[in-house]
């Protein structure tokens, strides 16, 4: 086996692993739904179709689909899908995704204490930087303007409430 073969074999193993993991998550979701069903109260009085019927059916459906998908990836793997996932696997930049997600969470958490305009002014250049933008100055200016324009037009014109935060006295 040449080095290239080994590389592509490990890649396809990783793609297959990812797909199986996805199937397991689906199975798990089905299990979670079904274990929640007994916690649903049936309510007073008689009704033909109670509140547990649809959750049960959907839970079983999710579980079965997950099992079928797992069987499919094990016994009759979908070549096209694996090729697609492989191609993405090679080009995927996990650091970018994780950083993007973290900055989203921080952004949401800061909306109230810092205020909408300020939080947006910070978030926009930060996430543009994570995406690979190199012009920090330009991004900061756009972010600040975006935050201010949205904040002012929403609260003053559209009548939608947004947190003022630190800039409460100024805006």
């Amino acid at each position: 086996m040449t080095q290239n073969d080994a590389k592509s074999a490990s890649l396809s193993a990783r793609a297959l692993f990812g797909l199986r993991l996805a199937a397991l998550v689906v199975i798990l979701l089905g299990g979670v739904i079904l274990t929640q069903v007994p916690h649903i109260g049936t309510g007073a009085g008689f009704i033909v179709v109670g509140p547990r019927v649809f959750p049960t059916v959907i839970g079983i459906g999710v579980l079965l689909l997950g099992i079928l998908f797992l069987l499919r990836t094990t016994f009759q793997p979908d070549r096209d899908l694996i090729a697609e996932v492989e191609a993405e696997e090679t080009s995927t930049d996990w650091a970018t995704i994780v950083l993007t997600f973290l900055s989203l969470v921080v952004y949401a958490a800061l909306l109230k204490p810092l205020g909408y305009a300020l939080a947006t002014g910070l978030f926009f250049p930060a996430v543009a930087r994570i995406f690979g933008s190199t012009r920090l100055g330009r991004d900061v200016i756009i972010g600040v303007i975006l935050g201010l324009v949205i904040y002012l037009s929403f609260t003053q014109i559209l009548g939608v409430r947004l947190p003022a935060g630190l800039l409460a006295g100024i805006l």
């Binding site: 979701l29 109670g50 649809f54 959907i58 999710v62 993405e88 909306l111 947004l162």
Partner: protein, 512 residues
């Protein structure tokens, strides 16, 4: 003659300055967003929903319809110049459109798609005007059992016909059904699948799901590949117009595209994707210049673009008359109706005729506006393509967060939306279409309510779904939709020919 007076009233209302302005705003916004790769009309309408709570319903819906329509027009520009479809319904346009742009005929491709969209949009709005009231009358005969079977048909046709794998489509649908279940059961007042979180008692808002799946999911997905992709915009050298020869070849393709697009849009089969591909294959088969295909045959742009726009008016037929959305964007439009306490369905035409007819009249007006926006002003839209992707997707995240946060200033809502965004990212990554999920979330309450109503009428007898002819017919159509993609394989097997592909694929199901 009823229809004419109603339509005239509609025009009288739609031509007031306020509604004209909203229609213009809608089509402009829709075009801009259609031009941008990666974001489509469903997301745009979802983002704007919270902002329009204070609008009057007619004005808001006119604007939303304009966005949907504009998105359809704008999507062709990216397909032709960038080889990146703005939404799934423009995928078929990329084949010949990008080839035309490469050989320096981008102007003609843009012209045939804009004029074709106008022709198709106008004819199909005319069809909508006359067909919708008739369907609304028929729909009055529908009983709960029939409505339930109708939702089953919508679920099956969207998952079976759109997307590469039925199994993955069904999984997406069921994930949507699960999300739809969360919250208090309307009939009994029992909380379901809330995992003890009080925030989940009201259920997960469709806007939260839509923004999460479409905006955040897409942004994360693009972010994961952003350093490995480079886009090149092809310049449009000559003027945007067509030669006599190109006119002659476009006309029949527009008309055929319209005739394919409208009925397919009206059927519960996933909106505009299928008809665009059908139109593409039809034109290819009928073409006299077969050697041109792949190198920029104008029919290959004219047909699918016409089908695309005709399908939009088709989609409005089941949406307005049955309350049944057949595409993700239509599903979001349904939510818009519900926000204003309007229930689309057979009674909508009787209860709110002013709104329905103003909306239909605004479609005629919107088409004219879009023709002006997309022919003389096309160069402005091409400029939009030059916005760097980094800023574009940073902006999408800002607006996505804003859309959800502005609903109730809730941190938890935003977190749920991000979580759904992560789900959307992994669904894209592993080839699960996101369209069925949103359809599942939106249609589950209707499916469950009608199922319960039907069974309480029949006193628990399940056979009601197969003994009513209408319901039986709809269920059989659902079975047909599941089997249809396998027909060519079966035929090939019967003829003992080698099987080329496992099942036909009509689109990749990534409507956004």
């Amino acid at each position: 003659m009823d229809v004419f007076t109603n339509l005239l009233h509609g025009f009288a209302s739609a031509l007031t300055p306020q509604y004209l302005l909203l229609a213009a705003l809608g089509v402009t916004l829709g075009t801009a967003i259609g031009v941008l790769p990666g974001i489509g009309p469903a997301l745009t309408v979802a983002l704007l929903l919270p902002l329009t709570y204070n609008f009057d319903p007619t004005g808001a819906l006119i604007m939303f319809a304009g966005i949907y329509y504009g998105g359809m027009y704008g999507g062709s520009t990216t397909s032709i110049l960038l080889n990146t479809p703005g939404e799934s319904a423009s995928v078929a346009t990329t084949f010949e459109g990008f080839a035309m742009a490469k050989s320096g005929r981008g102007g003609a491709a843009l012209a045939t798609s804009a004029i074709g969209s106008f022709v198709a949009g106008t004819i199909s709005t005319l069809l909508l005007t006359f067909v919708a009231p008739i369907i609304a009358k028929i729909a009055l005969l529908f009983q709960p059992a029939d409505y339930f079977s109708l939702t089953v048909l919508a679920f099956m046709s969207v998952t079976a016909l759109v997307g590469k794998s039925f199994l993955r489509g069904m999984t997406s649908l069921f994930i949507g059904l699960f999300i739809g279940l969360i919250g208090i059961d309307v009939l009994t007042g029992q909380p379901r699948l809330t995992f003890g979180m009080p925030e989940l008692l009201d259920g997960i808002d469709v806007v939260v799901v839509a923004v999460g799946l479409f905006a955040v999911g897409e942004a994360l997905y693009v972010a994961s590949q952003i350093r490995n992709t480079k886009d090149e915009i092809l310049p449009v050298k000559k003027g945007i117009w067509m030669t006599k020869e190109e006119w002659k070849r476009s006309w029949p393709a527009w008309l055929r595209g319209t005739l394919i697009g409208f009925p397919f849009g009206a059927l519960p089969a996933g909106g505009a994707e299928i008809p665009t591909f059908l139109s593409y294959t039809t034109e290819k088969r009928l073409s006299k210049n077969k050697e041109e295909w792949g190198h920029g045959a104008i029919e290959g742009v004219a047909g699918p673009e016409a089908a695309n726009n005709a399908a939009f008016s088709g989609v409005l037929v089941p949406l307005l008359t049955l309350g049944l959305p057949t595409s993700a964007t239509a599903a979001i439009l349904l939510v818009a109706f519900q926000i204003y306490n309007l229930q689309p369905g057979p009674l909508l035409f009787q209860k709110s005729p002013d709104l329905v007819w103003a909306l239909i009249a605004s479609l005629y007006i919107g088409n004219v506006m879009l023709l002006i926006l997309n022919l003389p002003l096309i160069r402005i839209w091409i400029k939009i393509l030059e916005i760097p992707r980094t800023l574009l997707y940073a902006g999408i995240l800002v607006f996505g967060t804003l859309g959800v946060y502005s609903m109730s200033n809730s941190f938890v809502d935003v977190m749920i939306m991000y979580a759904i965004g992560v789900l959307g990212f992994f669904m894209r990554r592993y080839g699960f279409p996101v369209g069925p999920t949103i359809l599942g979330v939106i249609l589950l309450p209707m499916a469950e309510a009608q199922f319960r109503r039907a069974l309480s009428i029949s006193q628990g007898d399940l056979s009601v779904f197969v003994t009513r002819p209408l319901s039986l017919g709809l269920l059989l159509m659902a079975v047909g939709a599941v089997l249809l993609p396998y027909v060519p394989v079966l035929i090939a097997r019967l003829r003992r020919k080698p099987v080329e592909s496992r099942r036909i694929v009509f689109g990749d199901g990534q409507e956004d």
